[in-house]
Structure formats: structure tokens, C-alpha cells
């Protein structure tokens, strides 16, 4: 249904008013609807960053595919990394409905002009990191993304429904991996604890800066792209994780973690925002490695993409030829 159509003699204000009314009425904005330029730009930025995170996020986990310690775990991990590539594809498609091509977005990623989630700049040093990523990183991502299933922009909301289903599955698998390690040999238990110690704080940073420092939050909430504040979601995540850690038989590396009777939430210690800022600026442990590997995969693959385009141009039906040839020669 096309929702954003002004009733009569459309001036810019009429479009704006119709858009605001549609958002207020919880109607979905669709690709052909009028939307404010800033709304479009915010969505492109956010969806592209989300897509890039899926693609860069393949690296820390792919790092363990060749070393997975059992065939069952290897199959699970391969399937997960494959899903991430698939999520990247849906999200680039969602971004394309806003008028920006995948190639253009990838170029921006490679040039460092668009970001991806800071969490993927941390290294996977042991097998248990694969479990910690599933439990904590995917858990944080789900907490962030479930409200996006109700995002005002239809294509993004629909992509999120599909992504969240698969992410929940990955999260359970990560939890189960850690549980197996935690209940395993002493060496395995220690490996699991070490991974949780290293991934806990970076996972909390995934919710973004505190509410009073979050640049885009107010506008995104007004547009119903975002439904909850960073701090609200972060608190929700901590409240979920504390009992899960206990069930796992692992501790969380925060001496200030205490149950607050009055609020009905877990209070937790201060986040090291200087680390967060350093990672965002490109100075995390793996920023350089992640982006240069991504760039290299793209550059190394250029001749393959060129070959596919040249072949398509040669073998296209005659009526499509000019168009395809044009694409190939670009």
C-alpha cells in the first residue's frame, strides 16, 4: 500500500505532513513513497553499516573454520558464516531500494567512508571465542535488531525479521558451545572463561555511546527507525546475560555487577569509552587487518567479476545486448 500521498495540490509541506502522519500511524514507508532526504540518508547509512558488519563479521569466525575441533562444530560454523553472507545480501538489497547500489556501498566500505560494527575489530584467539561471539555478540545484535523488525521503513523491517530468526539460532548454538566447554576438561573451562572475559565489555559497547552522547538517537526515534535508547537496550542485554552466565558456570568480568532491588535490574560497572572511541577511530586490534583483507578479496576478485560481465555481454539475447555490454564495459 502506498501510504505517503498528499491529498491535494502537493507542495513540499504536504508531502512532509503525509510522511509524518504515516510514521505516526505506524504505517510502513515503502521504496516509492516520498520521504525526507535526511530520513533516506540515515537509513542508507544505518543499513549499509549493518550490511558491512555482516560481511566484515565473517572474518573473525572464518578464522576458525579450518581449525574447528569436531566435524559437527565445523558444519555449524560454516553454516553460520554462510548465513552472514546471506544477511549481507538481504541488507544490501534493502539499501538498494533507497537508490544506492551495492557496488557503491562496498566502495565506501573499502575506502573507510562507511563503518561496520566495532566489535569485529577484536581478534578470535581461541576456539571458545567462537562460542563467546555466538552468545554475547549475536545476543547483543539480536537485542538491538528485534525492535528493528518494527522499523518504519518496510524493506529494512522485513529483512530484520529474517535476519533475527537466523541470528537467534546462531546465538543458541554459541551458548551451547560454551556450555560444552564449561562442563568439559579444566583446559576447556579455562578457555571458555577467558573468552567471556575478553568479549563481555566489547559486547556492551555494541549498543553504542550512552544516551546523552548519541548523535543520531533522537531523530531516529522520532522517525521510528529506532524504538529504544542505547542505554535501555544495553540494560536489557545485561539483565538477560547475568542469569545465563550463571547457568553456564562462567563469571562476567565486572566486580560492580549487583542486583538492584529498587529498579529490578542489574547494576553494572563503568564502560571504558576511551577504548570504544579508539576502536571507532580505527585503532582497535584488528581494524587494519579486517579492512585490508576485505579490500584484497575484492581486488583479487575483480578479474572474476569482469569475466562474468564480459561473458554475459557476449551471450546475452540480442535485445538485451546493448544494456549488458554497457554494464560490462564500465
Amino acid at each position: 500500500m502506498t501510504t505517503v500521498q498528499p491529498d491535494t495540490a502537493p507542495g513540499p509541506e504536504a508531502y512532509e505532513a503525509a510522511f509524518d502522519a504515516a510514521v505516526a500511524a505506524e504505517e510502513r514507508i515503502e521504496p516509492r513513497d516520498w520521504m525526507p532526504d535526511a530520513y533516506r540518508a540515515t537509513l542508507v547509512r544505518q543499513i549499509a553499516q549493518h550490511a558491512h558488519s555482516e560481511i566484515i563479521g565473517m572474518q573473525p569466525e572464518a578464522n576458525w573454520i579450518t581449525r574447528a575441533p569436531s566435524l559437527r562444530r565445523k558444519a555449524i560454523l560454516m553454516a553460520k558464516v554462510q548465513d552472514e553472507a546471506g544477511h549481507g545480501l538481504y541488507l544490501y538489497s534493502a539499501a538498494e531500494t533507497l537508490g544506492t547500489g551495492r557496488d557503491e556501498l562496498l566502495d565506501k566500505l573499502h575506502a573507510g567512508r562507511q563503518k561496520y560494527s566495532s566489535i569485529f575489530n577484536y581478534p578470535t584467539l581461541t576456539w571458545a571465542d567462537v562460542g563467546a561471539i555466538g552468545w554475547l555478540v549475536d545476543g547483543a545484535a539480536i537485542t538491538n535488531q528485534v525492535p528493528l523488525c518494527r522499523c518504519s521503513y518496510g524493506p529494512y523491517a522485513r529483512a530484520m525479521v529474517r535476519v533475527c530468526k537466523e541470528e537467534s539460532f546462531h546465538q543458541r548454538q554459541g551458548y551451547e558451545l560454551l556450555l560444552e566447554l564449561s562442563r568439559g576438561t579444566e583446559g576447556q573451562h579455562a578457555m571458555a572463561q577467558d573468552a567471556v572475559d575478553r568479549w563481555w565489555w566489547p559486547s556492551l559497547m555494541m549498543f553504542g555511546p550512552p544516551d546523552d552522547e548519541s548523535a543520531h538517537s533522537a531523530q531516529s526515534m522520532a522517525w521510528k527507525i529506532k524504538r529504544h535508547s542505547n542505554d535501555e537496550l544495553r540494560q536489557r542485554f545485561v539483565d538477560i546475560c547475568v542469569p545465563q552466565a550463571e547457568a553456564l558456570g562462567l563469571t562476567l568480568p565486572d566486580p560492580d555487577l549487583t542486583w538492584n532491588e529498587d529498579t529490578g535490574h542489574w547494576d553494572f560497572g563503568a564502560i571504558d569509552w576511551s577504548e570504544f572511541k579508539a576502536v571507532l577511530k580505527g585503532n582497535g586490534p584488528c581494524n587494519e587487518q579486517r579492512i585490508s583483507r576485505r579490500r584484497r578479496a575484492h581486488e583479487d576478485g575483480a578479474w572474476v567479476r569482469d569475466a562474468a560481465a564480459a561473458y554475459a555481454a557476449k551471450h546475452a539475447p540480442v535485445e538485451n545486448r546493448t544494456h549488458r555490454e554497457e554494464a560490462a564495459s564500465r
Partner: protein, 243 residues
């Protein structure tokens, strides 16, 4: 065919045929897994991982009839693996990976087609492999008949891997195969496709430095040892652990 699985004890020699098919699938799956995060386009990330997963599933199914899958995969040394040398070849560039897949999947599809009555996995495998072969054929056509660069890379890949294809037509104990028919059908299919891709069928021999059938006897090429070291190191570092 079940055998008591004792952790840490290397497998006694199971029948060559089923083990060879399982090792082929495991090793090629591992090589394809190395592509994750490095593919030329996102669609190929999905496709290569998908093929790797199918092959890993085949390996697990075949191993489970022979003993403990992890013991078989992680606790045998290089000389006990019975995979053909073709599947252990390093990925190289995308053309090498595609040529390897074309040669292997074309063979696997025909082979499982012959084993429909005798190997329970064959019915499922032949459907999966038809997709792998189709994928490899399409890329062979695109690369062979694409740009001058892709053509020369694809030709180099075909030439480089050709000497590992003869091993595919060695007898496998325990499998009832018509090897002459297998070779004839494979040759017709692969050479026909290479011609359509504007590539030249190599005139060089289809065997390498080792005697024919070397991988089936546990005689491998040098890159295989490091591949196994990487694959097995974590499992071997925690004897008796479950994962």
C-alpha cells in the same frame, strides 16, 4: 560396519572404497572452507560455503558407517588418508578452485550414479553433486569465454590440475564400479565443456609424479600435511575432550 570408537586410538583400516569417498569429501570441503571471507563476490561466499557444507555432510555420513567421525578425521595421519590428490590441491586462484571442482564434481556425480543401488548415501549425494557440477560448469564457461585474462587463468588451472585426474579412474576396493564407463562418460562431459568454454583439452598425461592411485594408497602431495596440521591441531591438543 560399526567399530568400537576408542578416543585417541588411530582407526584400524576400514574398507578402502567408502573411506576414500569420505576422505575426498572431507578434504575438498576443508579446502572450500578456506575461501570463507575471500570470495570474489558475496554470492560466491554463499555458493562455496554451500558446496563445502554438502561435502562435509557426505563425509560425516560415510564416516559414521565406518566408526567415529572425529576419530577418523582428526586422529589419522597423512599416510592413512585415502583421498585422491586432486581434492587436496591448494585453492590457488578462483580459476584453480573452479577447475578442481569441475573435474571432481563431474566424476562424483557419475560415480554416485553408478552406486545408487549399493551405497545408501548415493541418492542424496548425486542430487547435491549435480548442483556442484552445474556451478563449476557455469564458472568454467564464464572464465574460459570471458576476458583474455580469465581465459588464460582458466586454461592454466585446467592444465595444472589435469595430471591429478587419472587417479579418479583407479579401482576402489568394496565399490562395484564400471571404470571404463566412468572414464568415458567423464571424458566426454569434461572435454565437451572445455570446448564450449573455448579452452584447450590438455594433451599432457593424467598422472603425476607418484604412481597412479597414489592418494588412494596414502601417498599425498606436500601441501596436504600442513592442511591436516591446521585441521587437527586443536582436537589433538585436548586428548579425550568432547566439543
Amino acid at each position: 560396519m560399526s567399530r568400537a570408537a576408542t578416543p585417541g586410538t588411530p582407526a584400524a583400516a576400514p574398507p578402502l572404497g567408502a573411506l576414500a569417498l569420505a576422505d575426498d569429501a572431507l578434504v575438498l570441503s576443508h579446502r572450500l572452507g578456506e575461501w570463507a571471507g575471500h570470495a570474489p563476490v558475496l554470492e560466491e561466499e554463499v555458493a562455496l560455503a554451500n558446496i563445502a557444507l554438502d561435502l562435509l555432510g557426505q563425509a560425516r555420513s560415510l564416516y559414521s558407517d565406518l566408526g567415529d567421525e572425529d576419530e577418523l578425521a582428526y586422529l589419522r595421519e597423512e599416510r592413512a588418508f585415502r583421498n585422491c590428490q586432486l581434492v587436496e590441491q591448494p585453492n590457488g586462484d578462483f580459476a584453480s578452485t573452479i577447475a578442481r571442482q569441475l573435474f571432481f564434481s563431474s566424476w562424483q556425480e557419475l560415480l554416485y550414479g553408478q552406486l545408487l543401488e549399493s551405497v545408501p548415501l548415493a541418492g542424496k549425494a548425486v542430487k547435491e553433486v549435480a548442483y556442484h557440477r552445474d556451478h563449476a560448469e557455469h564458472w568454467t564457461l564464464r572464465l574460459g569465454d570471458g576476458t583474455p585474462e580469465s581465459h588464460s587463468r582458466m586454461q592454466a588451472a585446467v592444465d595444472g590440475l589435469w595430471r591429478f585426474t587419472g587417479e579418479l579412474f583407479q579401482p576402489l576396493d568394496g565399490l562395484d564400479l564400471d571404470l571404463d564407463a566412468l572414464r568415458a562418460a567423464w571424458t566426454e562431459r569434461v572435454t565437451g565443456l572445455l570446448a564450449r568454454a573455448t579452452l584447450t583439452v590438455p594433451q599432457s598425461p593424467q598422472t603425476g609424479g607418484w604412481t597412479a592411485g597414489a592418494g588412494r594408497q596414502g601417498l599425498h602431495t606436500e601441501s596436504f600435511g600442513p592442511m591436516l596440521a591446521e585441521m587437527q591441531h586443536l582436537h589433538r591438543s585436548h586428548p579425550g575432550a568432547t566439543w
